[in-house]
């Protein structure tokens, strides 16, 4: 039982981290229709910026500084790159951001080297929150979860309750009309892209210290972030939240399940036969844990192509 609670907690917090990164991605897609392949690179940049800044201005300030820096990188990317190719359609935007992700990765390698850097959580935050199941539960994990939840609440309230939110939503829904009413739509787009990048940067700054900061971190997380956005429904913030939690918790719990299909068959009395066949039938669920999100994505695409909370495709 205790083990189950830990798994649930671990999974939920990892899910919240996934949400922090995918929030920006789904926001940008929902508002601008741009599938941003370099989004996970912003996550990586956040970690490296925070690593560079934290000896200078302290850990807490470095978090903020890194998000602002990554946000401004995002603004530049939108203003000087994406805006130019926007008129040529999605394929160009896709290729542009795809190329950008390689450039960012190579730049990071150039400046910080190939190996993981020594970016760690500060000693003052490095303690156990409580003990459960014979092991410490790190306080920093709770911070990560807290930041993600605060972020979700803030964006949600911003979009639904404030005047800025109304302008942003109208600029998305009917850009021409919003423009005719005197709103600067390109500025809104730039802002949204910048905020999306800054959110990924913040996630990187927070999570890079807890996990690792290396030139491959964008690649490692990037795939999972796309899975989250697809499962949750492109453009849906709530969907991204649900999908992140779902993926985090399912993966975490599956790790502990050492059962295979053959065990399932043995309930029917044909377990020995299944053991003899081997192959897929004897593969343990635990060894497949990190593959399960992809299976989930496949299932969602088959049953509900627009994602859990996505709007119906306009055809």
């Amino acid at each position: 039982m205790e083990y189950f609670i830990i798994s649930l907690l671990n999974g939920a917090i990892y899910g919240l981290l996934l949400f922090m990164v995918s929030a920006g991605l789904t926001l940008i897609f929902g508002m601008m229709g741009v599938l941003n392949f370099s989004h996970a690179s912003f996550y990586m940049l956040g970690a490296y910026f925070a690593y560079t800044l934290s000896p200078l201005i302290g850990f807490g300030m470095a978090m903020i500084g890194a998000s602002l820096l990554v946000g401004s990188v995002g603004v530049m990317v939108e203003r000087f790159f994406l805006r130019r190719v926007h008129n040529y359609g999605h394929a160009h935007e896709l290729l542009l951001t795809f190329g950008l992700s390689f450039i960012i990765a190579e730049l990071v390698k150039l400046f910080f080297g190939n190996f993981p850097i020594d970016y760690r959580i500060p000693v003052s935050l490095d303690f156990a929150a409580f003990r459960i199941g014979g092991a410490d539960y790190p306080f920093y994990r709770l911070i990560m979860g807290g930041i993600a939840i605060a972020m979700f609440a803030l964006i949600y309230l911003l979009l639904t309750l404030t005047r800025v939110g109304i302008v942003v939503r109208s600029a998305i829904y009917k850009p021409r009309m919003a423009e005719a009413l005197g709103h600067n739509v390109p500025l809104v787009f730039m802002g949204v892209f910048g905020v999306g990048a800054a959110l990924a940067g913040l996630a990187g700054a927070v999570a890079g210290a807890f996990y690792t900061t290396n030139p491959n971190m964008a690649l490692e997380l990037g795939v999972m972030v796309f899975v989250v956005v697809v499962v949750g429904g492109l453009g849906s913030l709530g969907g991204a939240m649900i999908a992140s939690l779902l993926i985090g918790i399912i993966t975490s719990i599956c790790v502990g399940i050492d059962k295979s299909l053959a065990d399932l068959f043995s309930l029917l009395g044909i377990g020995d036969w299944a053991q003899d066949i081997g192959g897929l039938l004897t593969l343990k669920l635990s060894s497949l844990a990190s593959t399960i999100p992809f299976a989930l994505m496949l299932l969602v695409l088959l049953v509900r192509p627009s994602g859990l909370m996505g709007e119906k495709e306009h055809l």
């Binding site: 830990i6 798994s7 190939n114 014979g134 410490d136 490692e220 790790v255 844990a289």
Partner: protein, 418 residues
């Protein structure tokens, strides 16, 4: 313009080139096929740097046949598919030796392709110098005459590790095995089970997980905590080891780790003081090599900018042994007969700072000395800018460390003596 007008000069040029290449023998070419870009680049570049250093040293000593040995680099982009392509390119470029090491998957592809190429092209054989792909099958089921492994394998490492930990009385009775789910990790798991009686422990639980895909290792660590073990033995490397270390540290887990690749740069920095007391079975530790080890480490640092770490030491020694065997091979009409080199290698006794390195003729698995070290403040060479380093506690000679020739290896030796 008629076709012949265009073709004739080309034919003439080709013939001329051919004649030139026959009369002026090309220098001996060694190709390193490694992951020079992409996620595995840090490992691939380590092998590249080590190979470059060793070849430079051989060239300073005169190269071979009065010419410098030519080292060509190919980027396999981290996978077997890329490696298969680059192997073709390397052979077309005239490479007679292929160097690789960072992945058993790549190693398996290369050795298979080379075996087939050699069957189809008698007299033009190519040799694989495997510096670090350690899955058992590479000198087991897949062994062949032109495949040489200069590093150890899963069995050798685990045997040494378990032996030393048992001797120090730290292994305990309950052991957890966590490994990556591919040839190397599976071999390590089997070895951990195999040496259970030697180490006097019980393997409480075994976990195989996806390779370099997992971000959050805390579910695995809570599984380890739940199993209540004394020691965790893992063959993990790269991110999978780093993240496992970090998650362990965060959970306050007290179990001791027995590892094989903890000396990869970045691991100790990230694991912090929690790593103190962890064990590693590796093939090179400058401190264990005494004066010679120090000399080599300083020279390596002077040339490449840092002390040899991770697989660099073993890779350099392997390549230097390759050069040692070359010394005794005479050129035949200005070319190298690789079979003659192979036979020379089987009789080479190469002195490394760790001890004597020899190549076992039966399966072409090197008899390589193994060092078991413990993470400690007392180590001479600190790593990653921390106060920690690897303090050697036991050095096994190649013979002591060796495991039996796998029955699965059925090597076809060349029938003609060169």
């Amino acid at each position: 313009m008629s076709a012949s007008k265009f073709i004739r000069p080309v034919v003439v040029a080709c013939t001329a080139l051919l004649l030139v290449s026959v009369t002026l023998a090309a220098p001996l070419k060694v190709a390193v096929i490694e992951a020079l870009s992409g996620p595995q680049a840090s490992t691939g570049l380590s092998y590249r740097n080590a190979t470059r250093y060793a070849i430079d040293r051989l060239n300073t000593a005169g190269g071979w046949n009065g010419e410098k040995i030519d080292l060509i680099e190919y980027d396999n982009q981290g996978g077997p598919t890329g490696a298969a392509d680059k192997l073709k390119a390397a052979i077309a470029d005239g490479a007679q030796f292929i160097v690789s090491g960072s992945s058993s998957a790549v190693g398996g592809q290369l050795t298979d392709d080379i075996r087939k190429y050699n069957i189809r092209n008698p007299g033009k054989e190519v040799v694989l110098l495997n510096l670090g792909a350690e899955a058992n099958e590479l000198t087991g089921e897949k062994c062949h005459f032109h495949n040489f492994r200069f590093s150890s394998n899963a069995q050798i490492r685990i045997k040494a590790l378990v032996g030393a930990m048992k001797k120090d009385g730290v292994i305990g009775t309950r052991v957890y095995s966590i490994n990556q789910n591919y040839s190397w990790g599976q071999d390590t798991e089997n070895a951990i089970v195999e040496y259970a009686s030697v180490g006097g422990y019980k393997v409480v639980e075994k976990t195989l997980h996806d390779v370099n895909k997992i971000q959050d290792f805390s579910p695995y660590v809570s599984k380890i905590v739940a199993a209540n073990v004394d020691t965790v033995i893992t063959g993990n490397w790269s991110n999978d080891l780093l993240l496992l270390m970090k998650a362990t540290k965060a959970s306050g887990l007290k179990a001791r780790f027995g590892t094989t690749f903890l000396d990869q740069p970045g691991n100790l920095a990230n694991a912090g003081d929690a790593a103190t007391g962890h064990y590693i079975a590796h093939l090179f530790n400058a401190e264990a090599g005494g004066k010679e080890g120090e000399q080599f480490a300083e020279d390596y640092k002077a040339k490449t900018g840092r002390y040899p770490a991770f697989i660099e030491g073993q890779a350099v020694q392997g390549m230097l042994m390759f050069g040692e065997a070359l010394k005794s091979v005479k050129a035949q009409s200005n070319n190298l007969n690789v079979n003659a080199w192979a036979l020379a290698l089987e009789n080479t006794k190469f002195k490394t700072p760790m001890g004597e390195l020899r190549m076992r003729a039966a399966d072409h698995q090197a008899l390589v000395p193994v060092v078991v070290s413990v993470v400690s403040n007392d180590a001479k060479y600190k790593v990653d800018g921390t106060a920690l380093g690897f303090k050697p506690i036991m050095v096994l000679t190649g013979e002591q460390a060796a495991t039996p020739v796998p029955a699965a290896c059925k090597m076809q030796r060349p029938t003609q003596t060169p």
